[in-house]
Symmetry: C3
Subunit: 100 residues, 3 copies
């Protein structure tokens, strides 16, 4: 099966940020996303147990340049102020043109 | 720790497809799967906002040939008709023989 | 965007193991984790359909040595006794120092 390598962006954030984050994803070039409810404990720079609570997990398959722009935005506007974490994973899809 | 590289297949689909998809996964060689409830917006070929709604996220760790067969099936029978997306990720497991 | 490659550990387990597993993650060096409710069918060494039921999906972004210790623990203490599966994925993060 012929596949194309793209980036899966995963963002874990407080539910209150959902609309703002998905608007940003759209503006930066994401064609869609999936949201899953989750719970988290600990995170960037905090001690485990300090910030437990409900969260959302946002996932979006995007091109490498779009992934880069999303991480840049997260680092600049979210990491300093919110308990947001984000990571990229290489994923392989068929019909890669649908995601970009 | 000695690990073996396998493929994680992730499929996002409408909940109505769950039984049909998991039967297909089994028939194609998957030994098990995990299902998580999610919500999605946008997707393959659709504009963001066009098809919001509940979804399921099906994940299964399988061998590369099984992953290939699952993607082929998805591309042939699901992508043309349903708001299904699927991707493969390389994952590392211990006791890889349990998954194949 | 400058990124650092770390390991995402994903563990699927019975909900009853949550506290024990997250305590172990913490003790082995994880700085935080995310928990998502899921359902599973089949798994390590079992036939599909044999052990359906509710589960939890625990995810944690950690350094490679911590990931290795977590897999070793899982293989030694959990795989022989519980329907636990676990896998590692390479992920790319900004500000990698926050996770280690």
């Amino acid at each position: 099966m012929h596949t194309v390598t793209l980036k899966l962006v995963t963002i874990i954030a407080e539910p209150v940020l959902e609309e703002r984050l998905t608007r940003a994803l759209h503006a930066l070039g994401a064609r869609g996303w999936t949201i899953t409810a989750c719970r988290g404990e600990g995170s960037r720079g905090m001690r485990v147990g300090e910030v437990p609570g409900d969260g959302i997990r946002i996932e979006s398959v995007v091109s490498a340049p779009v992934a880069d722009r999303i991480l840049e935005l997260a680092a600049r506007e979210y990491f300093p102020h919110y308990a947001v974490i984000a990571w990229l994973t290489d994923v392989h899809v068929v019909r890669g043109d649908k995601y970009v």
